[in-house]
Subunit: 176 residues, 2 copies
């Protein structure tokens, strides 16, 4: 087996730091994942094959997890969005909550520090479907209670940004 090409994968360190080229490529791809390698290369100052090689490396390293379509929840039949705080009894049990990923309604699931154990982001077709989902939640062992925050308006929803060197925006103080 050829070892020359295995450098990145066999690296002892978790990940080599991204350089400026990588960051520019990632920034382009976060904006539009269907850009051609030539277009990314133009923005980054590289040839298309060089970009292609870097994208493969970024994928292999895990920094680039994938490229996904972003859908409009309302227009694909899921206009109802809520954040659900779940209080659970024990942490051994929480492993079972991983089964929640079998519900396509559940988009995110994080364990958190604070006055709740787990935060879910759940998108359903209706309030009724949300109610059904919540009833399924209580079937899980150790689930003590839930508190739901129904989303009224979404003002911003975007993927992880690949910052360049980032200056803090100055939030302007209103003259009043």
């Amino acid at each position: 087996m050829n070892k020359e090409t295995e450098d990145v994968q066999r690296n002892e360190r978790p990940t080599r730091a991204l350089d400026a080229f990588d960051r520019k490529i990632l920034r382009s791809l976060v904006e539009d994942a269907r850009l051609s390698y030539a277009e990314m290369g133009e923005a980054a100052g590289l040839s298309a094959p060089a970009v292609h090689e870097r994208v493969k490396r970024l994928r292999a390293s895990g920094a680039l997890k994938g490229m996904q379509a972003t859908l409009d929840g309302a227009q694909v039949g899921k206009p109802f969005l809520a954040f659900v705080h779940v209080d659970a009894d024990g942490w051994g049990k929480s492993q079972r909550m991983i089964r929640l990923k079998e519900f396509p309604e559940v988009e995110e699931m994080h364990s958190v520090a604070g006055d709740t154990c787990v935060i879910l982001k759940v998108r359903t077709a209706s309030a009724h479907a949300m109610e059904q989902f919540l009833s399924q939640l209580y079937v899980l062992p150790g689930v003590r209670g839930t508190k739901s925050y129904v989303v009224l308006s979404t003002y911003l929803e975007r993927p992880v940004q690949a910052d360049v060197t980032h200056d803090w925006p100055q939030v302007p103080l209103p003259p009043e």
Copy 2:
């Protein structure tokens, strides 16, 4: 209409319901946004040009908002994630919070029903950067207080799913 508010509520168009072809195409694109039209067509049972035409239509209708790269927060230098509940004084003022989108740290911003006004999803390089961000938050007029939920583990994080006809997964009932 200014650009900010246009982003929130641009939903109007003679939108026809999605058919089975559209849903299959969207499902493919949510899995991998860089599939060729030929590959999508193979999964959907259409020719490449037909798929291309439908993707253009789905884009125009807004059901398909875009294609984005999904990055690993930790590996692009933002290992610190939190959900921030913001209590605000008035709703007229909340329009001003839209400026928060200038912070690349802010990934989501929703107004919600419940015991808080706004939920933010914020990803930063460190606890210190989060503190800095929160201090900027309090500069906004009308911000009364915040409550942060620091994410300990992320078990699931994925885009809006384009369901086919969906059967509810059976969560196994424990014997009681």
